[in-house]
Assembly symmetry: C2
Homo-oligomer: 342 residues x 2
């Protein structure tokens, strides 16, 4: 597929506009609650420090989906803000649920302010993600469009919670989940919000149900590809392979390569993985042996081929939508390539 | 004020209808997530056990507000379900934040299933509270009414989170908050949702802005009265006075009587309260001494007069609304009397 390095659409500009839209919502409201909003800006990487923000992938995809049909991205900014705030609500709660003490090289919110304030800060982000959407009315979208978007968003958040339930449930069991259940889980936990982000962009831009459905399909497949790519990076990514960051294997994170190896390995292979999982802080050698095992059993190849399959499916859905403005199309591919590197 | 013991409106019937509306939302959706919905039904007291449900005060107030203008309550059921689900989301998270191990004589969700699942179950209830509102569209309410209700609900949830922030923040300080800040906090944490519940009932029933504003005023004052009444019951209620349940003083719960005594006592009086607060599990004698101190300083009388003032203000707002159907008016008073007993 032909790619050019830069497009007419300025991605950093889209990120800056999204952050402005979010800052309207997380600015101080009154003196007594200033501490709460400061926590939110800290978590969002909007506290004036450099290099502490996320990639804003979800809002970017939504804005590009909108711009690819409507030409300009700005009217879709409330939707982009909602998706980013919703994603960050789930990160704040995930960090507590997983006991993670760092995110983007800074202490997590619960580590800094305690679990009670962090739970509540997550709830606040969740609430603000909903409030963000009301500005669509001020921008001239019809009530029925706004309501449809809200319904999409609410159903998506439910899927998110269901996926998170499955994730926590599975982490408490001694056996890994099946590959089928894993896809069920990442569908709800990861793909649903990415699909909704893209679908939201489309449904603000057009009333053509065929186009909206194709964009949703694009987002869904992209979401799965993104997660599988993340699974690969968590084990074979440069920072993990060089030990700069702990491997997902050392952190006992259940991902497709492990599930595949467990399903397809011999009982001796399973024992290797079970021992690794039972070891509190596994050493470099144990992790290296497990990586070799995964490779021998074809777990890396399988995951890579699944990731590529969904990425190709995503691009095919985009082609089938058939209305894409060329510059936005290039920008979408740029985002896809930047997040899917495995 | 004249009261008759029963009215033409059957409150248990309203509660049953509300629970049916909620059960539509928390029934099982698919096999893999059945455990999540079972948790929700358990917390809501909808798991088939007797005597484990809350009083459903908030939905009752909303339904009665609606019925007092529109005559029948049924079209307002989605709003009632939303408010009850929203209230329960906050209870699930509060129980974690406060470390409470029991609610309505059963283990709290986090105690049974761990903090990660309980945080996520609360998030799910929050999401479902929003999904509940979409059924208003199916019942024939206009998009603009539904959107207005959602905006009210979202702004209310934000106030709730802000109030909770203040509560957690204050509990980590060595000095009690001021009376002014206390009213700021309970306004957001308690009165806002009760006011919204009543306002929602009114705004589904009428487009008369004067009436809607009066109902909101009624709900707001009632919410404050309710909280102050709760403060009194937490120290002087029968179960606390007889030791059947731990006094709020033993649990170090910061309420208006304590704040008033601290603000108006001598430095010796303050020391008594500070010692009580510094004692992990205070004995009966220490609690009894503190109760006597609060009474001597007029803290009980002050709280009681504030509670009555807001209750009377609530009823005056209801009178000023001027459109109330007599049966619904009597039922509203019945609810008020049943929750405000101090």
């Amino acid at each position: 597929m032909l790619r050019v390095p830069t497009t007419g659409i300025d991605l950093p500009n889209l990120v800056a506009d999204t952050e402005q839209e979010i800052l309207r919502l997380v600015g101080d409201r009154d003196a007594s609650t200033a501490g709460l909003y400061a926590m939110l800006r800290y978590h969002l990487g909007l506290d004036g420090r450099e290099g502490v923000a996320g990639k804003r992938m979800r809002p970017l995809l939504g804005l590009l989906a909108y711009a690819s049909i409507a030409g300009d991205h700005r009217a879709a900014l409330p939707g982009a803000a909602a998706v980013e705030l919703g994603h960050n609500f789930s990160l704040v709660h995930d960090d507590i649920e997983d006991g993670d003490v760092e995110r983007r090289h800074r202490p997590t919110l619960w580590k800094l302010h305690g679990i009670p304030q962090a739970i509540n800060a997550g709830d606040t982000l969740f609430t603000l993600s909903r409030i963000a959407l009301h500005r669509l009315t001020d921008l001239g979208f019809s009530d029925s469009r706004v309501l449809r978007l809200m319904r999409l968003y609410d159903e998506t958040c439910l899927a998110l919670c269901e996926g998170q339930y499955l994730d926590i449930w599975a982490s408490g069991r001694s056996e890994p989940m099946t590959e089928a259940l894993y896809f069920d889980m990442i569908g709800r936990k990861t793909a649903a919000l990415i699909a909704a982000s893209v679908e939201a962009g489309a449904l603000l831009a057009t009333e053509d149900e065929h186009v909206i459905a194709r964009y949703r399909g694009f987002g869904w497949a992209l979401g799965l590809a993104f997660q599988l790519n993340d699974d690969l990076l968590g084990i074979w990514g440069e920072e993990r392979a060089t030990g700069k960051e702990p491997s997902d294997l050392a952190r006992h994170k259940m991902t497709l390569p492990v599930i595949y190896a467990y399903e397809h390995g011999s009982s001796a292979d399973r024992s290797v993985l079970e021992r690794l999982w039972a070891t509190q802080a596994p050493g470099e050698g144990e992790v290296r042996d497990a990586v070799a095992l995964l490779e021998r059993l074809g777990a890396r190849d399988h995951t890579r081929s699944q990731a590529r399959r969904y990425r190709d499916e995503a691009l095919a859905e985009l082609d089938a939508a058939g209305v894409v403005e060329p510059e936005a199309r290039l920008a979408l591919e740029e985002v896809i390539v930047s997040v899917i590197r495995a």
